[in-house]
């Protein structure tokens, strides 16, 4: 136990560096993914048949294939075409696209659950269709999608560990580095697991608290 604690203290700084990258990857990709998701969902719901069809196919392709395969396509597949991106950039792009597609689906469901009467009401006060979407539908849809969004955040937080496989310097990479010097694989990965557990529980509680804070009457949702 004592030497576990010692190991914990020794590896903590390096792991914290890794954790910083993990969280940075998560936060940036969730934000970019949200933006992408909004555009994809709007295009799917309100776009022309062709736009909507293309987006649907794209979303389904991304959701139907492993994230790791997507990272490999970007990281190993592009260089022969002269596009050579650092692992961290590939991870960011890959996570953003992947998350964007999942979020687009959540948002689409949410948009479609906002009643069509709302758009009609917007038109009736003289708004254009796009104004109605922008000021009436989207604000409601975004509020409804918050629980899925927080779930997605937690998913992404865990899946950023895949960046390790293409060599981005996140927490797993640091762990492997430490463990390959002291051969304490079990303890080191246990520490990593504990850190993830704490971080995930922290964000879960934080989101619960935030959701309660920003609750709007009529927008209570069931988890």
């Amino acid at each position: 136990m004592a030497d576990f604690f010692q190991l914990f203290m020794d590896s903590f700084p390096a792991l914290m560096d890794g954790l910083g990258v993990t969280i940075m990857l998560t936060v940036i990709s969730i934000i970019l993914g949200t933006v992408l998701g909004i555009f994809l969902s709007l295009g799917k719901v309100y776009g022309s048949k062709i736009v909507s069809g293309v987006i649907t196919v794209f979303i389904e392709l991304i959701r139907g294939t492993p994230l790791l395969a997507q990272l490999f396509i970007l990281y190993f597949g592009l260089p022969p075409y002269g596009i050579r991106l650092p692992a961290l950039a590939v991870a960011l792009i890959g996570f953003t696209i992947n998350s964007g597609c999942y979020q687009a689906e959540y948002l689409r469901g949410s948009i479609q659950s906002v009643s069509s009467g709302q758009i009609r009401a917007a038109l009736s006060i003289g708004m254009t269709k796009w104004q109605g979407i922008r000021y009436i539908v989207l604000p409601q849809a975004l509020r409804r999608v918050i629980p899925s969004w927080t779930n997605e955040f937690i998913y992404l937080l865990k899946y950023t560990s895949l960046a390790y496989i293409i060599g981005a310097p996140e927490m797993m990479t640091q762990a492997k580095f430490i463990a390959s010097r002291n051969y304490e694989f079990f303890k080191v990965y246990l520490i990593v697991a504990l850190i993830y557990l704490v971080i995930v529980l922290f964000f879960t509680q934080l989101f619960k608290w935030l959701e309660n804070k920003v609750k709007i009457p009529g927008f209570e949702y069931i988890r």
Binding site: A69, S148, E152, E184, F185
Partner: protein
């Protein structure tokens, strides 16, 4: 040029399909382990005393909070420190199955609990005992409710078997990287692999969708799952 690539795809296909077979084995074994563990976990969570319920929720919480990759590394690289050594394939199945059990347990519990309390009461009022009521009344309804989220979980497990790559399991992605080492055509190969994965996820969803359709109770809509 395009012909070359198609030829490459064609000639790699036997190897890739061999990898796909390993991926399928991982998926079935992982899901199977998830069912075997997930069902008792769900029962424990619903019918157990507070100690059992507490243990099950801790298990669920922990396994759902730790990334699969960490679980896999803990089992494959970590356990040997404690004198327990697994082959990459077994380690992958264990990791995937243990984690899936946590998600599946939630699916089964939710399904069982969403069958309304009156159904149990009505069954008892006819003279059924609790076991009969569960088997003839609760279970048939719970199974139907559980299919869509189970299909969702199956697709997740299928996709996540790709993480076994990191343990050196010679699954679909690993077969691909072997081919790339000799052909230097990563884009073509990885796109082909993605296509194979896509076909497999669509197949899972189609099969379970058919099952859902066949078991559908007229007049009752069933909602789809999420990620």
């Amino acid at each position: 040029m395009v012909i070359d690539k198609l030829q490459l795809v064609w000639s790699s296909l036997p190897n890739l399909l061999e990898g796909a077979l390993v991926t399928i084995k991982l998926t079935i074994a992982g899901l199977g382990l998830g069912i075997i563990l997930g069902l008792p976990l769900a029962f424990g969570q619903i019918y157990g005393n507070y100690l059992i319920r507490g243990l099950v929720s801790v298990y669920e919480r922990v396994l759902r909070s730790i990334p699969l990759l960490v679980i896999l590394f803990l089992i494959f690289y970590g356990f040997p420190n404690a004198g327990i050594k697994f082959s990459p394939f077994i380690a992958a199945v264990l990791g995937i199955g243990l984690r899936s059990a946590a998600y599946q347990s939630q699916i089964y519990r939710g399904a069982i609990q969403s069958v309304s309390g009156t159904q149990m009461k009505a069954a008892l009022s006819l003279g059924m005992n609790r076991v009969q009521a569960f088997i003839y009344i609760i279970l048939p309804q719970a199974v139907r409710i559980a299919i869509p989220p189970f299909a969702n979980e199956a697709a997740i497990v299928l996709k996540d078997t790709s993480l076994a790559y990191a343990l050196g399991v010679i699954e679909l992605l690993r077969h691909g990287s072997y081919i790339i080492a000799t052909t230097f055509e990563p884009m073509t190969i990885y796109l082909t692999i993605a296509a194979i994965y896509f076909i497999m996820t669509v197949t899972i969803n189609t099969i379970l969708g058919k099952l859902e359709e066949r078991m559908k109770i007229p007049g009752i809509g069933v909602e789809g799952g999420s990620r």
